[in-house]
């Protein structure tokens, strides 16, 4: 468990009150907020690794997300100088047309951000042309399509086709994910890869961004 005063450990072990208390103490002691943010990132990285190792589950990720929100809210007012943060890459993500489920997608967004990606989350029920627009606007090289229902199979296929038609297929890597997604569905949709969970998504994104 380590030093109880250690923010990284408190976050990694999902000790909400302890983490908040340490952050308050650090802020009161005028510690560099960017250094605190760095500790937070490291704590969340451990959370992600534990999830990948089946030590943590969706319940833990949702709680970690909540703790993360609470601690960053405390720090935000202190982050006055806008330091240019280096991102590993840009990812566009959304639940495809017809599907309004977002819990799985939100967890993927959370883990991608915690791992240093700039994520553009389009939301739910996103028509193919919105993905195309956003690729053009941001120059993102990674696209994540999420879908919980079987109707998402066709929506994903149409989204990949729309990206192709817009002449952008060569510029982006596309991953898909959701409860009923398999290798057969990946082939059917024309996506590059599929992931079983949020850490699969992080591994794919890191690989495509050249950080594997």
């Amino acid at each position: 468990m380590g030093d109880p005063k250690d923010l990284v450990t408190a976050l990694a072990d999902l000790k909400e009150e302890e983490a908040l208390k340490i952050v308050e103490e650090k802020l009161a002691a005028e510690e560099d907020p960017f250094k605190i943010m760095d500790d937070i990132r490291r704590g969340m990285e451990i959370v992600g690794n534990r999830f990948a190792n089946n030590e943590y589950f969706i319940s833990d990720l949702l709680y970690a997300g909540e703790i993360l929100r609470a601690v960053t809210e405390k720090i935000k007012p202190k982050l006055v100088t806008t330091k240019e943060t280096k991102h590993l890459g840009k990812v566009i993500i959304g639940s495809v047309a017809g599907d309004i489920h977002d819990i799985g997608k939100n967890i993927v967004v959370f883990m991608l951000e915690a791992n240093g990606f700039e994520v553009h989350d389009l939301g739910v029920d996103i028509p193919p042309e919105k993905f195309v627009e956003k690729i053009k606007e941001t120059g993102a090289t990674i696209v994540g399509l999420s879908g919980f229902l079987t109707l998402a199979f066709d929506s994903m296929k149409k989204t990949v086709e729309a990206i192709e038609k817009a002449g952008l297929r060569g510029k982006v890597k596309i991953m898909i994910g959701g409860g009923q997604i398999t290798e057969e569905i990946r082939k059917y949709t024309g996506a590059d890869a599929y992931g079983r969970d949020a850490m699969d998504a992080v591994a794919l994104a890191k690989n495509w961004a050249g950080f594997a």
Partner: protein, 438 residues
């Protein structure tokens, strides 16, 4: 409980309808007996039963939409009838799934998006996740769940019932004294509460019209020889709170932040969930109670959380139903590989049916196969984009792995909507071809 269950099975075996002919009656009884034998584990059935768990498939199959199924009850009956008569499954799940669109419209339902209201007419209805019960409302729910539903939950999920927030506790109506009983009814004189009551009456009329059609459909299909698998339905208390009250995120955080309250609320719901399933089963004369399982699946929570939060009250629901002569059909969505060892010693032999989606079926058969019957696992990816031959091979393999000695039924893993009809047919044909016990 043995007698109670036999009595319910006998009622299911002898429905109060006039069969179209002797052949239909024979086929009906053979189907029910086949399912009964597969579930009870007392003897091997004549054949592995096959039950496609369908959603809006009949709409797509007949060139109609989910919207049509929810708004035009004639189309609903036609599509679902065509599906059953042409596919000839051993059992169906009624025509009750789509529900009455107009009812939801009248009450301005906010908990789901449905065809024409938030999703396209050609798509299925979908839950809108939210905290329809707030974190600080556990005490109110625990103290008086019905009053909480009437004055907090219903006004949130039905726009038209918002004025019900003003209704007094009806438990105040104690004696003639003016300050007790009469004042309890003041809210019913208020214009907005009265409009809400009018909406409720209109909604009731619509539900009655709809259920009349659903029941008429069912009598006709029963008369043609096809039993409805479901006598009733209920939920695991953890899902009752997690699905539509606190929401997925809400209940997950509650396990960490207010575990005691969550435990208390689940205990409050446990007898209510038993009553919900058992009363429907008795009314319909069919012991099988469908329980879709959601948030206890692999990956959602840890085994420790499953054992602490999910299973104890679900186990009570299962045992409560079994004591009433019912037969719980636990449909574990997602996968349940890590849970099989945790549940196996708690299952009364031959009294439950387990439906699986992505669970390893060989493992399921090995771990719980001697105490419970199992079904499911034909993947929706295969049914949607595979070929009939691939489906047949998959079903053949499943029967080889799980069918030995009975205790098995062929079913798909996740609800079928837009699957290829030839693939659904292949699933049924393959069962009839490879599933005969010699």
């Amino acid at each position: 409980m043995e007698e109670k269950q036999e009595e319910l099975f006998n009622r299911w075996l002898s429905p109060q309808v006039e069969f179209v002919d002797e052949k239909a009656e024979e086929a009906y009884k053979a189907r029910v007996t086949r399912i009964k034998d597969a579930i009870q584990l007392k003897k091997t059935p004549d054949k592995v039963p096959v039950f496609p768990l369908i959603g809006f498939f009949p709409a797509y199959y007949t060139g109609l939409t989910p919207y049509d199924m929810m708004y035009d009850y004639e189309k609903l009956k036609m599509a679902f009838k065509k599906y059953v008569l042409e596919f000839k499954p051993d059992a169906h799940a009624g025509a009750i799934g789509p529900g009455p669109g107009k009812f939801f419209e009248i009450l301005d339902y906010k908990l789901y998006a449905w065809p024409g209201h938030g999703v396209a007419p050609q798509h299925s209805y979908q839950c809108i996740e939210g905290e329809y019960m707030k974190a600080d409302e556990y005490d109110a729910l625990i103290q008086d769940p019905t009053y909480f539903f009437l004055t907090v939950f219903l006004p949130r999920i039905f726009g038209a019932l918002e004025p019900f927030k003003k209704i007094s506790p009806l438990t105040n109506a104690l004696e003639m004294y003016g300050g007790f009983t009469p004042v309890t009814f003041i809210p019913f004189g208020l214009p907005d509460v009265q409009s809400a009551l009018k909406a409720l009456m209109e909604a009731g009329n619509e539900v009655l019209k709809w259920i009349g059609n659903v029941v008429a459909w069912e009598r006709e299909i029963t008369a043609a020889g096809f039993p409805n698998l479901f006598g009733g339905g209920t939920k695991a208390p953890f899902d009752t709170i997690g699905d539509t009250l606190r929401g997925t995120k809400g209940i997950m955080l509650d396990m960490y932040r207010r575990p005691e309250k969550l435990h208390q609320a689940m205990e409050i719901f446990t007898p209510l969930m038993i009553k919900m399933g058992a009363s429907a089963a008795k009314a319909n004369g069919n012991p099988i109670v469908f329980i879709p399982l959601h948030k206890g699946a692999d990956g959602f929570i840890s085994n420790k959380q499953f054992e602490e939060f999910y299973w104890p009250t679900l186990k009570k629901v299962v045992m409560g139903l079994v004591n009433e002569g019912c037969l719980p059909f636990l449909y574990a969505e997602g996968s349940y590989n890590s849970r099989l060892e945790l549940i196996k010693n708690d299952l009364p032999k031959g009294k439950t049916l387990w439906g699986f989606d992505q669970t390893d079926m060989a493992k399921a058969k090995k771990i719980i196969g001697d105490v419970a019957s199992i079904c499911g696992n034909v993947p929706s990816s295969l049914l949607n984009v595979g070929t009939p031959q691939e489906v047949k091979d998959y079903v053949k393999k499943l029967i080889e792995v799980c069918g030995e000695g009975g205790g098995f039924m062929v079913m798909n893993g996740a609800v079928i909507d837009e699957a290829k009809p030839e693939n659904v047919k292949a699933m049924i044909e393959a069962t009839n071809e490879y599933g005969v016990y010699k």
